[in-house]
C-alpha cells in the first residue's frame, strides 16, 4: 500500500497518507491536480469505482475539503482522496469525463456548497431544490433552524419549562436576583 502512497507523493505531491482501517485509507492532494490524480488512480492504480464525492465545509480554516471515495474492487480496498479548495472562491476541475455519474455529484456540490466545476454538464441547474433563494445550505454558516422558523409556520401553543428555573420560581423565588 505504501507503494501507492509513495507513487502518489512522487507524482502528484500527495501527502498525509492515513490508514483508517485495514481496507480504507485517505490521502491528501492539491485541488489543482485532482483530475490527474483521479485519472491515475482509475487507470493505473486499480481504483476503478467511484463510490461518491462530497465536500466538507471547514469554515474555521476557510476551505472546503473535497472527499472523493474510490474503491478497488479486486483488491477490496478503498481510498478517500481529499483536496482543499478556497472557501471564498471554490472552483475545482470537473471529473465528469472520468466517471459517468460524477457530474451529478458535482451538480449537487454546486447547489449545496456553491463549489463550481466548470465544464460539468448541467452544473448550474437546480438539483434538489426549486426556487431556492438562500445561500448554499450545506455551508456551516447557514442556520437551518433559523431559516425554517422564519419561513415555515409552526403550530402555536408550545411552551416548555426548564425544571431548574421552574423550581426556583416555585420553591425559592427570593434567589431570583
Amino acid at each position: 500500500m505504501n507503494e501507492l502512497a509513495k507513487e502518489l507523493a512522487g507524482r502528484y505531491g500527495a501527502r498525509g497518507w492515513h490508514d483508517i482501517r485495514k481496507d480504507l485509507a485517505s490521502v491528501e492532494v492539491d485541488a489543482i491536480r485532482i483530475r490527474d490524480v483521479m485519472a491515475y488512480l482509475r487507470d493505473e492504480a486499480g481504483y476503478g469505482h467511484l463510490s461518491f464525492m462530497t465536500a466538507i465545509d471547514n469554515i474555521e480554516r476557510g476551505a472546503f475539503t473535497l472527499s472523493y471515495a474510490l474503491r478497488d474492487h479486486d483488491a477490496r480496498r478503498g481510498l478517500i482522496v481529499h483536496a482543499d479548495v478556497d472557501r471564498a472562491e471554490p472552483t475545482v476541475d470537473s471529473i465528469h469525463l472520468l466517471w459517468g455519474q460524477a457530474w451529478t455529484y458535482q451538480r449537487e456540490m454546486r447547489e449545496w456548497f456553491g463549489i463550481d466545476f466548470p465544464g460539468s454538464p448541467r452544473v448550474d441547474e437546480e438539483f434538489v431544490l426549486e426556487g431556492w433563494e438562500g445561500p448554499p445550505m450545506m455551508r456551516r454558516d447557514f442556520d437551518s433552524l433559523a431559516y425554517s422558523d422564519a419561513t415555515y409556520a409552526e403550530r402555536p401553543g408550545r411552551v416548555t419549562h426548564d425544571p431548574a428555573s421552574h423550581m426556583r420560581e416555585k420553591l425559592y423565588p427570593e434567589a431570583a436576583q
Binding site: S67, I80, W99, Q101, M138
Partner: protein
Amino acid sequence: MRREKQRVIPPAERATPDLDSGKYLVMWQGPQHPGITGNMSLRLVAEGDTVVDCETHVGYLHRGFEKLMERRLYMQNFPLVCRIAVPEPDFNEYCYAAALEELAGIVIPEKAVWLRTLSLEMMRLASFLMWIGGQAGAFGHGTIAQWSVTMRDYVLDLFEELTGGRIYHMYIIPGGVRGDVPAGFYKRVLETMAVVEKNLDDIELVMFHNAVFKMRAEGLGYIPRDWVDHYGITGPNARAAGVARDLRKDSGYLAYPRLDFQPIVGTESDAYERARLRLGEMYQAIDLIRQIVDMAPKDGPFRERLPNPLYWRIPAGETYVSAECTRGEYGFYVVSDGSDKPRRVAVRGPSYTHAVSVMERLVRGVNIADVAGLMVSLHTYPPEIER
C-alpha cells in the same frame, strides 16, 4: 442463447433535441404518476413512441438530512437516519452505527452482530418482495404485487415483534441492538420463511415463466459490462452484467464471513435477468435467514454500554462504512471533529447513479410504455438520491 439486446446509445455527447421542430413531445412522468418509483419525475422527450431524451428530476423528498445531522447529537441522529430510505431503513441504521463504532473504537457483542445480520437480511427480503410487486406492476401484472406485498407484510410482522416498529425499526443502535429476540421468535421466523418461500415459488412460476413478461423485459435496459465501473453501478444491476461484486462477500462485515453463500451472477444484463437475479437473491436471503437462526448465539449481551448519549463525543476522524443493500453499495461517510455532533455525514445510495446517470442513458431509445418497467428494473429509491 443470447437475447436480442436493446440498442445502446453510444456515449457521445447528449444531443439535445430541437424541441421547437414540432417533431417531439415533451412530457413529465411523475412525480404524481403510478409508473414512477417513489416521488421523483422524469422529463421525457419522445419522438413518436420512443424516448429520445430524458432528464431525471429529483428533490421532491429532499429533507436535508445531512444538514440536520450536523445539528443533532450522535445519538439523536439514530432515529433520523433510518428515514433516508423508507423501504429499507435498516441499512442506514447499520452503516451509521458501524461508522460511529469504528470512530469511537467500540466493539459490539457477538449477539448483536448476529441480530444485526438477521435484521439486514430480513430487510433485504422485505425490500425485494416490495420491489418484485413493483416490477410486475410496472408491466401491468398487478396480481404479483398483491401477493408479494402481503409476503413483505409477513416479514414486517417479524420486524414488529423484534423491534417494535413496522417500517422504521430503529433497532440497530450504536453499540449493538435495542433488544433481545422475544421468546419463540426464531420459530416464527422459520414459519414465515416457509410461507414466503412457497409464495415465491408461485411467483417464479407465474411471473418468470410468462410469455408476456419475457416479451416486455427481455432485452430491455441492457447495461454493458463496461458501464459498471464507469457509472459506479453496484448490486444486482452490476451482478446481472456479470460482475461478481457483493460487499457482503468482499468486505465481510457482520456475520457474513461465517455464512455460506455465493454472490449470484447473471450474464444477460437486461430487465429480465435483473429480475431473475433478484428472485435468486430472495431465495438466498431466506437461506441466509435460516442459517442465521441456526447459528446465532442464544445468550449473551446484545449491546455495549455507551457513554451518556447527551454528551457523547467521538474522537476526531473520518470513516466510510458501506454495506450491500438490495440495490447495491449503501454507505455512510462520517466525519467527526471531536465534538458531540457529527461534522459531516454523507450518504451514498446506489440509486444516486442508477436513477440519474444510468437511467438517463438507458431510457433513450426505449418505448414510452417501457419507461416505468425500466425504472423499476434498476430498483431505485429517490430518497437516497436527494437525502
